[in-house]
């Protein structure tokens, strides 16, 4: 499996070439759209004018400036709008790792060192972990700018993409009522309730997707009963490969 992205992490003048891999597994329950005979379907774009299907090279990307009027923007233009420097993850601010409100977090990626950069990688990971710090940076990848926080966990660096300040609404934006002084007794009542139901630790392993599990169970049952099972020739398309992300990460962290 190829890395999701390869690039350079920098702090000060130190640069650490790294690879990015997703830190989340995709959902196991995605369904395919099938035709009558069970053939997997393909999505096609067609012209409103001619009603004919279009190939990928007959499609362009447009921004609607007024109703029905578009400015065409090419991949190359989007690429050239990002200066070289903006493609590096340049850590220009470090903050206490628990000081970032969770509303910002979007998606995680593990960083693995490119061969030759292991020492600089370990240096950054150890320094951050020892001091409980996260590093912040913005960088441009595939036509989009990302705000990321880099965390160090068990000697491994992880980037969490984050929502920019203007991508989050505030209570004022939403028209929520102004904060109100409340009687101490009411607060105490809730504090007691919280204490009574407090656990020492968050138990993530208990967070099961019960809907997905029920679906897989139903699939198994139907498979056993041979009800609604279809088989089609698959010469045409590459079967959806199940990637063992953990195995990929282990290999990459071992420098292979």
């Amino acid at each position: 499996m190829r890395p999701f992205w390869s690039g350079t992490l920098t702090f000060g003048l130190v640069s650490v070439p790294v690879n990015l891999f997703p830190a989340n597994r995709p959902s196991r329950t995605s369904l395919r759209m099938l035709g009558d005979e069970g053939a997997p379907l393909a999505r096609r774009y067609f012209s409103q004018q001619t009603e004919k299907d279009l190939d990928a090279d007959e499609l362009v990307r447009g921004y609607e400036i007024t109703k029905g009027k578009y400015v065409v923007v090419t991949d190359e233009e989007l690429d050239r709008l990002a200066p070289e420097k903006s493609r590096d993850i340049d850590l220009r601010r470090f903050v206490k790792e628990d000081s970032i409100p969770p509303v910002h977090f979007e998606r995680g990626y593990f960083l693995t060192p490119e061969s030759g950069s292991e020492k600089a990688y370990k240096l950054l990971a150890e320094t951050m972990e020892k001091n409980g710090l996260a590093g912040l940076a913005t960088f441009v990848m595939r036509g989009k700018e990302y705000l990321v926080a880099i965390f160090s966990d068990q000697g491994i660096l992880r980037a969490e993409t984050m929502r920019f300040a203007d991508e989050l609404r505030s209570p004022e934006d939403l028209g929520l009522p102004k904060k109100k002084k409340v009687p101490v007794a009411t607060v105490r009542k809730f504090e007691k309730l919280i204490s009574a139901k407090s656990k020492k630790e968050f138990a993530g392993a208990k967070l099961q997707d019960e809907q997905a599990q029920a679906m897989l169970k139903l699939v198994k049952k139907k498979e056993k009963n041979r009800s609604n099972v279809v088989k089609v020739e698959t010469e045409e398309r590459e079967p959806a490969k199940v990637i063992d992300l953990v195995a990929v990460l282990k290999k990459s962290l071992a420098g292979k």
Partner: protein, 261 residues
């Protein structure tokens, strides 16, 4: 402009309930492009076709299948899918409270604001209690035929609910080996610590702006006016030098910068 609530329900802790409204906390700022056909510069439409025959398959004819092995599908009918839907409910049930630092950032997915729907006093009292006790609640609810798990927390005196991923989705660093390679020296660690210390500050989201988004919008506006903005070619990259000399240089330039400021 006030936001519209997307859902109404009852926040439930034990036998205590607070009526609430849910609002999306996310404002989409993505520069939205449309796919156009290059001859007419009109928006394209899409449909599903059988790739072998190129024949269109209408929505009514489309079946949904789960791939159990390559090319082998179990078809799930509309009734099957309906039977999997959770029982509708208006309750956001908070079952337990945990220290926020025990929830790794990887779990958080999508944030919602909770607003009061009547009981303003109960709402702000719960927010204050969460703040005082330094706890996040673990909540479960069903919204639009889907079940969710989320973290209920207080943020600047208001309640937010951030959906959490499930255990199968999150890969923990504990499952992974520490990276191979030589450990840095004590001297390097010391310099790195100084360097990072000089860049340390409070978290302030407004320090970071999506400059690229602005640049794309400016470019589009100029192109719309018929101007052809010049763009430079993308260049590549740089050489490496020894780690401790680079650390020393970094510290020096940062110190100079501080003095000048």
């Amino acid at each position: 402009m006030a936001g519209r609530a997307i859902w109404k329900g009852l926040l439930k802790i034990g036998s205590t309930t607070i009526p609430v409204k849910l609002y999306s906390a996310v404002a989409d700022r993505t520069v939205r492009f449309h796919l156009l056909d290059d001859k007419h510069l009109m928006r394209v439409k899409q449909h599903m076709v059988n790739p072998d025959s190129d024949e269109e398959v209408t929505n009514q004819e489309i079946k949904k299948g789960y791939e159990i092995e390559p090319g082998k599908f179990v078809i799930l009918t509309d009734e099957d899918l309906e039977s999997l839907e959770p029982k509708p409910s208006r309750e956001i049930e908070v079952s337990e409270f945990v220290p926020p630092e025990s929830i790794n950032q990887q779990w958080y997915e999508r944030p919602y604001y909770i607003g009061p729907d009547g009981d303003v006093q109960g709402y702000f009292a719960l927010a204050e209690a969460l703040e005082n006790r330094k706890r996040e609640g673990i909540a479960r609810w069903v919204m639009r035929n889907k079940s969710y798990i989320g973290a209920l927390r207080s943020q600047d005196g208001y309640l937010v609910l951030v959906t959490l991923r499930n255990a199968a989705e999150v890969i923990s660093a504990r499952e992974l080996p520490t990276p191979a390679g030589r450990a840095p020296s004590a001297k390097e660690l010391n310099m790195a610590e100084q360097l990072v210390g000089m860049l340390e500050g409070e978290f302030d989201a407004s320090e970071f702006e999506d400059e690229y988004r602005k640049r794309v919008m400016e470019f589009i506006e100029r192109k719309a006016k018929g101007q052809a903005p010049k763009l430079s070619a993308v260049k590549t990259k740089r050489k490496t030098t020894s780690l401790d000399s680079v650390l020393a240089k970094s510290l020096e330039s940062l110190k100079k910068g501080k003095r000048a400021a």
